[in-house]
Symmetry: D2
């Protein structure tokens, strides 16, 4: 008799990931796509998103919420609040500290032989003329994540780039929401589908 | 006997304009360029910049510092602090209020038959990969100013665009200062010269 | 035949004043108290509050919303957002600018022989151990208003002081909301009644 | 022959602690007071302050800068920047995260049998009429630290309380600096002496 353990994937992030396990969310959609391929037994998807989380929140709850689950793969999607909270609460994260905590998470998870997929923060506002307030800062933090993915040999789902390219094609009226998000930040159906598709490419192959 | 009044130009702005009357500043350089053309008698240049000013500071001191001087032309260069102070003091200016005060200034000056030259805020950081923290916000406020210039028939010196284009050519190492600014915001010699050249094109013809 | 014009009072402020015309609001309650005294014909109460307003919003809409109504008395209650927006949007108001715009409002209204009642901002959080985040800043802006009331001979309803004294007596558990506010800022029934009572003392005599 | 190891004390903090090893600083003064008592051999004082540090900076460098030195006692003085950076950079620390990182530091140091002395953040502005912008927030974070000192059995140097009491007696003109600080935050001679005196009471007995 033969038994092959399913690949356990934990999605570790903020409110965007928290909503991803809802019926329309990207984790749910990813599960459906996996089912369509007849691979349901091979993948176990676990959402671990908490609204408002910044990189150091992930760091602080990594033992309880991720390591305790013994995952094979962890998908880290964080950064929107690190940027956004600078003006909405005065408690954003300095870019150098963002990197330090991100590296601490990477090292601790890789030490357990967990495969990592890093995601860049997508958008705070979908305008395509580069006038969203946090565009520069999101680009900066995304660049930090891209560099870390390269340096630490992690897979990358470059949501920042993916969302911008999609909007450049599909947002001709320069709207600030309604294309991939419902409120400038949180994913609508189309956004969840786009993310599910891109995750599929990286996670299931 | 014939006497022709010189064109009196007031430069109305923040610390960048405040520094512009120094020996290396763009107002001084503009004066020198005018002298070279033998036009010194035809232009009177007056600096009225105060460090830290935002659009509503200009509004509040417009009577005392500009109208009292009976200018023919006013060059308005404001916006960096309206964006910057959001994170450095928590007292930036909302974009809709920025526009309202800007319009109030335009209307009051135009009611006195003063010709206006509007300038977009140049840079807070000279990096060319669009990762300067305030890039999105500076683009947004610049777009407001461009629209106002068009709507109210004002000349425009589009410093935001001019500086970006210059940096794309001359900042191959993606430095955040040292190309046109000495400290990410305030102009160095090259920055002052570039601004003087562009002002010359608009003001002296 | 004798006709005596009613005293027209405009309440000029932010969301707290905007809500004051609701059935439970302090303007409604004030009207009811006036009716009980049989003075309904002598007072006309007009609410002019807009959510999110800061001092310079009042300044910008003063002509349209207050002067156009030819009031005899204007009750100005502003300041919470000037402080609060520092961390919630990065667009609070510097204290020196707060004073300048406040003075501009006072001068313009007094030039029309309008009697003024100034109110200090009450609370952002009702904790009584002085640990509400904005306590120091609210005290500062309240002190500016108290000084202006004295300097420009205006009546004062010192809500900051009134609310603190009430909470010191009635908030033994150091709650941050629920005593005079429903959400740390906006008035509940008891808060509206307290304000109506204090306004009554100043406005009707 | 008898050898008694000196008590090794590390002062762990921000710019205030960084400056404390200068000739006039409180660590230097504490060393001099210890010398006067003829106890120089019994205490070894080590400064480990870095300008701009917040609680999570201490957390991140705890291994390298404190544990590596095998201290007997650690004096933790942090919090000013966690509050201040909310408006000066948009990157202050949420109070609940402040507590979480503080607890993580306490637990890790106490696990090594290190005795802890916690200090509350003193002042950002010395005005005594409770109108310093950050007064409420400093009170809040100080209360968190007082509670942690009680809960985890640490000694407490309550600088917030000590500085306020001193100013209430010695700052009759309600100045915002110049009594115990040179610039609203960093200690002048008198401030350093006051802290040295209070540290002496707790550390040397």
């Amino acid at each position: 008799m033969f038994y092959q353990k399913a690949t356990r994937i934990v999605f570790f992030g903020d409110s965007i990931t928290e909503a991803a396990v809802k019926p329309d969310g990207f984790i749910t959609r990813l599960g459906e796509a996996i089912a369509k391929k007849g691979l349901t037994d091979k993948y176990e998807l676990i959402g671990s998103g908490i609204g408002g989380n910044k990189v150091y929140d992930l760091y602080l709850r990594m033992d309880d919420d991720v390591l305790s689950k013994n995952p094979d793969v962890v998908v880290i999607w964080i950064g929107v609040n690190d940027v956004w909270h600078k003006t909405s609460y005065g408690t954003g994260t300095d870019p150098d500290k963002f990197e330090k905590f991100y590296v601490a998470i990477i090292k601790k998870l890789q030490a357990k032989n967990i495969k990592l997929v890093l995601c860049t923060p997508a958008v705070i506002g979908e305008k395509t003329d580069y006038t969203n307030q946090q565009d520069g800062d999101l680009n900066r933090y995304s660049q930090i994540i891209r560099n870390l993915a390269a340096k630490y040999n992690c897979d990358l789902v470059d949501c920042r780039k993916i969302f911008l390219e999609y909007n450049l094609k599909n947002n001709p009226e320069n709207k600030e929401a309604g294309i991939l998000t419902k409120d400038r930040v949180h994913l609508n159906e189309q956004g969840n589908q786009l993310v599910a598709d891109k995750m599929m490419e990286v996670l299931v192959r």
